[in-house]
Symmetry: D4
Subunit: 171 residues, 8 copies
């Protein structure tokens, strides 16, 4: 399971810990999440570049060894978008996973919905919070589904509002 | 080994238990067989939808994460069709497996034969009862074949009727 | 463009003629739509079979030469489901196309929505009427989109009801 | 040749016209560049959705029929990033093309270099201006290369500054 | 359409002429059918070999340039087996085509049926005479099926014997 | 490692035992080598067929579940041809493996060389005796090569005759 | 047909003209054969680099757009090696073509045979002179084979020396 | 991890030992590095050849069983080029790995840069010394990056010279 996307919140830990608590048989991989190291890696290991473009591409090429391998081997790719930064790498990973026919799950606040529509159209599920990803993984792997006690069969009623749990909101 | 198809009889258990009794080295996977959960999963986890079509597609998209992954990894795909319901998901799985060049085995009562002809044309074997799937798996994996004592070489006689066992019928 | 599905209405002609009228640069292919011929073809050409199962599979195998080739070469696969018959071949084609990552469009009356949820989850678009397929093809190929005169930008208003045309209903 | 990216400047025309002037044997394709139509297409053709997320994903799914087909058939994919908007669809297309091992060319102002480093690491060439894409296509197809008269063999001198043309800047 | 197999009868001409008479839009390809030339080609062009094994493999390698390319591009592969010679190249071509998921049609006298069972299990149709291949191609491409006047719907009667035409025999 | 071909000599045991004696880390797989069982399997498990052709194809289809899976997973495919029988299944397996770009090794007496030239042209090595396959596997896996004491570097002398060991003959 | 390799002799013209004289239906493609232009292209079009390594890689990346596309579309890849320079690009192209299962033909003087053994092991034919490539293409496409008048069937005699033409030498 | 290239220095041991010292979870594979054995293997096992070309190709074909399998299974392919010999096999391996979309790392002295530009354009990283490969593997697998104590964030300063370590030089 590959976790791509922003590195400025603890969303990866939320998913990782949530799955661990439920003892789900799942392994998480991610790109190098040290911003500084992923910027400089190739230049430190292989020698410096003088122009910013070369500096950046050189390290990104090296990082892509890790990124592509992990996406290629993933059974599920989760990509998170946040309100800050342009995160073109996250959208790039989503497109890359999509062309490899990997199941894709996106996580983002509802207000990004319109901007992310092409990415979401390629997704199997669109989450708002990392906790939903834990539930989703749990269901997919073990069939566990946490219904409210008041919840009745989808066959008998379709009034969704009443059954909606507090932490899950449709944008 | 992936078991697709109707969820209203115990055919999966027959195959699973049959193979377990013979200690065959085989693992079975299947879609989520809780009808209600597979209908509602995405709406419970990700938020409700107001229209039935959106409700259905949303959960099916999430279920397909599981289904496709398991078919992709299967060495053999067994699909069962029964006399009730339209089971388009089962035929869809059969077509999906077929395009991936996965060996396909169908299980259905003989009277469905004409309606299933396109699916059967893509199958390696057409069974009527789940017990036949157990025999088929046993033979394929270990070479075990339960001949009647009166059975003689296929080279010397081709009178099939006499040798036919009681529980295996041609439709 | 491959048209799969039921052969008891003129839906293929509606799509074909609609696209022809607009001079869309598109070629349609389909399975053999003569019910009788597609049932008997291999037995007439290659020799008869005595059991129904063999008869059926033999002709279906021959038909699959045509079907698979045309799906393999299609840029878009349209599958129609109707209220009658079980149409497992249509769902099989949809699964086959889906595994080949072909864009899939389904056409069916809204009341089949729940039964078709797994197939629809793999579709790029879900239509109710063949005329919608013509519009969809027109838009996809040429960008032509027939807005009502009262239609305003999607950026300014999201009240969908008011703008809904009469012949397009959400199930 | 597929042109992906922002739709608020005339960069596609610059490339198209530039190649036409030189009579290069090349065909350009692009996503639907009418912002409004690409937002609303599926809702107009297939029926309205009430929530923004569903509205967006429905149209994007339909647009992806066009987008993916054209990228799949492209010999070269050019993606342009501008200073405005988050353009996740452009980065998604770049990732998609990259996984299909399509040669990728990016076009963007130099100050976006750091943000685009992962995308650029997958590119065969990084341009700043659409005119460079014309030169690049011309060279790739016909071998035409416009050297300054003062330009001498790369074998004899490596002082790049002196030979740098005015309209091509390294960021 | 690729025609593989024995070169000692005129079966290729029968198929070719039959399809030409009916103006079927089909192109036939085949390996080099000059026995002597296909044995010696590489040795004449590239230099002689002293041992028979090297002589044979050298020419076969060169012939495989043609064979593989034509099978790779074929929409249908027809392989004929006769009573003489061991024709391992024909069976090799059949296996090769099968792994590429090309539709395979075999042509052979009924008495070879047992020996060819593995090849036939991979075939879409098993013919006895090349004329059947012409009928099969005609049906697959144009839907033309030559029924006897006495032939009635497969839905109403399954007594195959009565309807069997004289020139089509089940082995 | 998949061993295909004739079942009337103990060549598979020679290879298996030879590799076991040298403790080579290798697993061997093969088709069902009980001639009678592989002929009758599907008819016993799934029901009898009245015509020989149907009988044969039905069992071969079932056997192909095993065969194809094992070839698909093999790292090396060894196919043996003997002087008796037509062994079209062996040549079919060789073609199948070849299209999957599996390394192929053939084993056959030298006098079959001309008849097998197309198969041999696709092979990485052509053996006469199963013992050679053991040596070949040993070398490929561990680098072990049994030189005669009189053998000197290939760099210094090219007089091959003198160094030829007694049990390895060029046909 | 893709022609890769050294650019210091007229071997491409020999093949091109030879095939043109015989009116063979064949199109030739090649990398950019202007040494200077292929060295400098990206630096001229996209901006200069200060270090030789960056300069070289930048242009090679751009050249690879052309090279890879043409190899991907080639039906036959011809690679020529000469006695001068290290020509790593030619060997790289050969490996690239080989992994794509493209038929590969090498052309080189006999004394390079030992150094090129890994490349030659992946080739369908090993030529010494470009004229042989013309003969090879002619035979592969049209079956034309220029035998000496004194040449007799390969079946009757295997004394290769006597029949060897003067311009084709085994190293 | 596959290590291809010259066999006359101990570079493979440097990488292997370096990774072992740091307890990196990595397995190394390589072609047979005994020059003499890899030249003679097939001739010793399968019988001698009289001409050098046949001798060489026969052994190389056998060696390719090992080489291709290991490259196919590698997550990273490292190819080293030295100042001596023409090493066409190393460049062939690089091209082969590149077409399989394997991440490629090259190792060579800076003065070979121009000659290796096509190979380097396909590489994710270009090293000069095998120690750099160890650092690169360590970073890619574990994220470990050895910064100088004086090293500050890539965000704040781009003066690369000052931070360049002594043992890593840009050519």
């Amino acid at each position: 399971m590959y976790l791509s996307g922003e590195i400025h919140s603890d969303w990866r830990d939320v998913i990782r810990n949530g799955c661990e608590k439920r003892s789900l048989p799942v392994t998480f991989t991610s790109p190098n999440t040290s911003h500084e190291d992923s910027d400089d890696c190739a230049n430190i290991i292989l020698g410096m570049e003088k122009t910013r473009k070369n500096w950046d591409v050189k390290s990104s090429l090296l990082n892509s060894v890790r990124t592509k391998l992990l996406v290629d081997k993933a059974d599920l790719v989760v990509v998170r978008f946040g309100p800050k930064y342009r995160q073109w790498n996250a959208a790039f990973d989503a497109g890359y996973a999509s062309a490899l026919v990997k199941p894709l799950v996106t996580v983002h606040p509802p207000e990004l919905s319109h901007m992310l529509k092409e990415v979401n159209a390629a997704a199997k599920a669109i989450c708002e919070e990392p906790e939903q990803v834990v539930n989703l993984i749990d269901y997919t792997l073990t069939g566990t589904l946490q219904r409210d006690s008041s919840f009745t069969s989808s066959e008998t009623t379709w009034d969704c509002r009443a059954r909606r749990t507090s932490r899950i909101c449709v944008c």
